[in-house]
């Protein structure tokens, strides 16, 4: 049996594509320096930051340390882990990362579907999945996997998203516990640990 709700480790995972860099800066900027959960961020390289270091770009706007995720290294509380370009990022049952260069999924690598599905299997109800702006369907199946195991699903309001397709696909395939503006998503993620304490 899976562990009881209160015992499941909590992990926030955020997927974004086109328009995602600005969206991520806003959401991550809302998290306090003492944030108690690991955060994993996946931004498609098609979002246009290729060649620039995403961790540097995000660290400027985020109170938490931002680091690229490494194979076999553990998820850390209060750290924003970034999916490296060109590799699928997965979370293992022992809450360590692994990487793969297997085929693209949903036409992308890294794929949010791969990451979200692995996290859903690793932490079940502990997963908090967030889908932000993007112009493809990646992440929808992954968010559905998180919901199927009792995790929490938050989707950016497509009306507000720079590219609505990714949130729309997520809502169509997975639905969501909450559909929020970027500002509200940041506030919600910041408040969640206090509510579950």
């Amino acid at each position: 049996m899976r562990s009881a709700k209160t015992a499941a480790p909590r992990v926030v995972v955020i997927g974004a594509s086109v328009g995602g860099l600005e969206a991520l800066k806003q959401v991550l900027g809302a998290l306090p320096a003492d944030y108690p959960w690991p955060v994993i961020v996946l931004l498609h390289t098609s979002a246009g930051y290729r060649g620039t270091r995403l961790d540097t770009l995000l660290a400027q706007r985020c109170a938490l340390p931002v680091r690229e995720a490494e194979a076999r290294r553990p998820l850390e509380a209060g750290v924003v882990h970034i999916a490296p370009a060109g590799y699928h990022l997965l979370v293992e049952q022992d809450l360590r990362f692994s990487l793969s260069v297997d085929e693209k999924v949903s036409y992308v690598r890294p794929s949010a579907d791969v990451l979200f599905e692995s996290l859903a299997e690793a932490v079940g109800v502990g997963a908090v999945g967030v889908i932000l702006t993007g112009a493809n369907d990646d992440g929808a199946a992954g968010l559905a996997a998180i919901r199927a195991r009792g995790g929490l699903a938050i989707v950016q309001d497509p009306e507000e998203a720079q590219a609505p397709q990714m949130p729309q696909a997520a809502l169509r395939m997975a639905g969501a516990d909450q559909v929020l503006s970027l500002e509200a998503i940041g506030a919600r993620l910041a408040a969640l640990p206090g509510e579950s304490a």
Partner: protein, 276 residues
């Protein structure tokens, strides 16, 4: 009980069956991506469940090839991470040139993209005739394809761009013929290549070499298997031999960390110490 728990048990049983029946041990692979591959294999082979796959691999020995192909094929490209090959060309090959014979082990060669990349580098630096490349993989289907050197023509553009960025001296198209949506690399590129079956999980040292390339293979292994393989590499390298890993792989936190110096961090090139 969730379906996923039942699936976990079936996966464990599949791994046990494969080991007991055929001697292939996937128990030390990182589980999350192994599971994805196994699920994809189940769908592709039309099996109703992972348990059905286990039965088939027991009853039908010929199915093993397909299983290994499905569980072990990383997607690669020629001159992937071009700066790595540029560094090999500029920094490593001039050092290897001082040896009377050059022996290179490409471990986990899959479909051979990097074998041909390496052969072209050696050719252009005038070292090919005194070189021997051992290209190994546990997947016989992939090895056969690697030996053919045939790739979809749709890859040609990416391969060519990578080649140029890796400091290519000619045009990549000088090395292949395009026919029927396929490109085939010149037979002469593999005249000093030996393709051989070798399983990093279970097999030992089989050659003494000056350079080992093993890129994007260790990411699929757990700590224990990674350390086993790295020790195997250490023991296969000559004093001051080179090890080249994938761009997200590192010797940090491994048991051989102290046996190597970092030669070029961004190319993930390490150099073996003298024995201490």
């Amino acid at each position: 009980m969730l379906d996923t728990d039942a699936e976990e048990l079936e996966i464990r049983d599949f791994i046990r069956t494969l080991k007991a029946r055929h001697g292939y041990d996937f128990a030390q692979y990182a589980p999350a991506s192994f599971k994805r591959r196994l699920r994809a294999l189940r769908v592709r082979s039309g099996a109703a469940s992972i348990a059905a796959l286990s039965r088939r691999v027991t009853d039908e020995p010929a199915f093993l090839r397909q299983v290994l192909a499905g569980l072990s094929v990383p997607v690669s490209e020629m001159f992937r991470d071009p700066w790595v090959f540029e560094t090999l060309r500029r920094e490593v090959l001039p050092i290897l040139a001082s040896y009377p014979r050059i022996h290179i082990w490409q471990a986990g060669c899959a479909h051979g993209e990097e074998v041909y990349s390496l052969a072209i580098l050696l050719q252009e630096e005038g070292l090919y005739d005194k070189s021997q490349i051992f290209a190994t993989d546990l997947n016989d289907v992939a090895l056969e394809e690697a030996a053919e050197g045939i790739y979809p023509a749709s890859n040609a553009r990416l391969f060519s761009e990578n080649y140029q960025r890796a400091g290519g001296r000619h045009s990549l198209s000088d090395y292949f013929h395009a026919r029927y949506e396929r490109i085939k690399f010149d037979e002469s590129l593999k005249r000093n290549v030996t393709f051989a079956s070798h399983n990093l999980s279970t097999d030992g040292v089989f050659a003494e070499v000056q350079l080992i390339l093993c890129r994007n293979v260790l990411i699929y292994f757990n700590d224990t298997l990674q350390n086993r393989v790295l020790q195997l590499f250490r023991d296969s390298l000559v004093h001051k031999g080179f090890l080249c890993l994938g761009s997200k792989e590192t010797l940090a936190h491994t048991t051989v960390e102290r046996d190597f110096d970092t030669f070029d961090q961004s190319a993930r090139l390490y150099r073996r110490h003298a024995l201490r």
